[in-house]
């Protein structure tokens, strides 16, 4: 039996983790969770997930960027795709766009928060598929 795909959820909202853990498990994924960027980096080492779902605003307003910067700087984790969840665009009234040079942009995809479970599933599947193709 092949090993299950493992998703690491990093978000400080208890209910986000609670709900999406159930949804992802129900769809055949294995789930690990962390409630802060710091805890997320610890879990990263232990769990070695296939994909990370990362909240931008946790302890600080840019905790997600700090997490992705550390993760992407480490050769052991830099190939793990990160899906960044953010409400920044809505909060500031600006379009959130990815930029190659900014460290905080070093994620692989982003989605606006709040995100419904079905949409999250779709984004995870697409990102995993993209990573698989790039890996071949």
């Amino acid at each position: 039996m092949p090993k299950k795909t493992k998703i690491l959820l990093v978000d400080n909202d208890v209910d986000f983790i609670n709900l999406n853990r159930a949804v992802l498990e129900n769809n055949g994924y294995e789930v690990a969770a962390a409630f802060s960027a710091r805890e997320g980096l610890d879990k990263l080492r232990v769990e070695m997930p296939d994909l990370i779902v990362l909240d931008l605003m946790m302890e600080k307003h840019d905790s997600g960027f700090a997490f992705s910067k550390s993760a992407k700087a480490d050769p052991a984790f830099k190939r793990i795709p990160i899906l960044l969840l953010t409400a920044v665009g809505q909060a500031t009234g600006t379009e959130f766009s990815q930029n190659e040079d900014g460290y905080w942009m070093r994620t692989d995809d982003y989605a606006a928060k709040p995100i419904m479970p079905e949409e999250l599933l779709k984004r995870i599947r697409a990102l995993l598929e993209r990573a698989r193709q790039e890996g071949e």
Partner: protein, 495 residues
Amino acid sequence: MAETPHILVVDDERGIREGCRRIFEAEGFRVEVAVDGQEGLAKVEAGAFDLLLVDLMMPVMGGLELMERVHALAPEIVMIVITGFATIETAVDAMKRGAYDYVPKPFTPDQLLAVVNRGLEKRRLSLQTAQLLAERDRRLLEVAGERSKLRTIVNSMADGVLVTNRDRQIALWNPASVRMLDLGDAIQAGRPVSEAVPQAALLEVMARALAPESAQFTTLSQEIETGGSDRRTLMANVSVIRDENAEALGVVSILRDITQQKEIDRLKSQFVNMVAHELRAPLGAIAGYLSAYLSSAAGNDPAFNRQMLERSLQRTQALTELVNDLLHVAKLESRSFVRRKERLDVAPLARATLELFKSQAAGRRLTIEEHIPEGLPRIEADRSEIELLLTNLIANAVKYNVEGGKIAVGLKAEGPTLVIRIADTGIGIASEDLPHLFEEFFRVQRSETQYITGTGLGLAIVRRIVEANFGRIAVDSRLNEGTAFTISFPIQEDH
């Protein structure tokens, strides 16, 4: 001068007196006579004459002495000498004493009238001149007064005023504009404004106002950053000054320092952003649960389905609390809110509030210690606010406690203050979190606090209430040992 000339004839010869009277009355003049200098002087003192006809040789007070005294008394009266010995010497003497002319005796009526009419003409002219001079003096005073008044007003204005002519040379300014634009000694009347004012944005808007296509009555408004060490934001209202033919004469710029308003605006938007963020998190969670429930995205486990609905309900309740707290904050901030201060006995209020939390505390097996003695002095405070303060602090002591922990609520009089102490044996607060404790929406983020709901406004509200009622608050906390809040309010003595 009255319409009818008023003439006094002073002569000791009756013939001359009556002759003159007839001649002058025939001309329509009003005439009075006196027999000597003394009587003449008395009449001059009593009545207003335009012209005096004086005989030099008289028994009691001669003509020269009379003229001298009249001249001192009423220099505007024209004096004409009647002299029987028309020598150069007496004429010069008379002129020195202020005589205008003389009539040699004997004279014909025509000769007399010619001299007198000249004198009256002179009198009329000098009266007119005096009137004009008086008017001019009065106007000058008025103009000078207006100028200095305006100058004083402009100089005293809190708003900056800067006026240039149409060639953009500085015409007028006040100390406020020099201070706001940091002009120092650069400002001088007649100097091109571009050499004195460093703020390009202000120069640009002045130029725009003066541009020929600029509408006739527009005022251009522009925010201006002053630059320099003390960065301030000014609002410049620039208007064109026009004459009656709508020709532009120059521009007047009124400057107002809006740095503080901008900062308040910024804080307000920041607060609104934080509120939006705080509202979106629970709404997102509720929408996620309901969406998963309806689509069975998380499967169909009845226990989990029920849990999703329960969590949705809890987050909804938390949202209600947040909205209530936001209303409390708005009320505490509102200037129109009237604080209903009274001489308040805090003890029964503290006991009653504690009572409300007893079942919740029992659910977590918390012990409550109550140190609330009788007969404590009263404070002056708003009852509902102190109630809210106690509720928020006791709620925190319950929420952030550990199973089987302890809560202590104590009241005591200490010098001029009443001290309220609310302590718990809960999870405590890390020292790096303490400075942020009373900030809006600050919540300690630890694994222990994840499941504790809160709005992040409770302590912000407490701080505001303490300040509004002239109290002080201190917090003493150790990580994993507990937290104690100590609040003191001034005691209100019995009157």
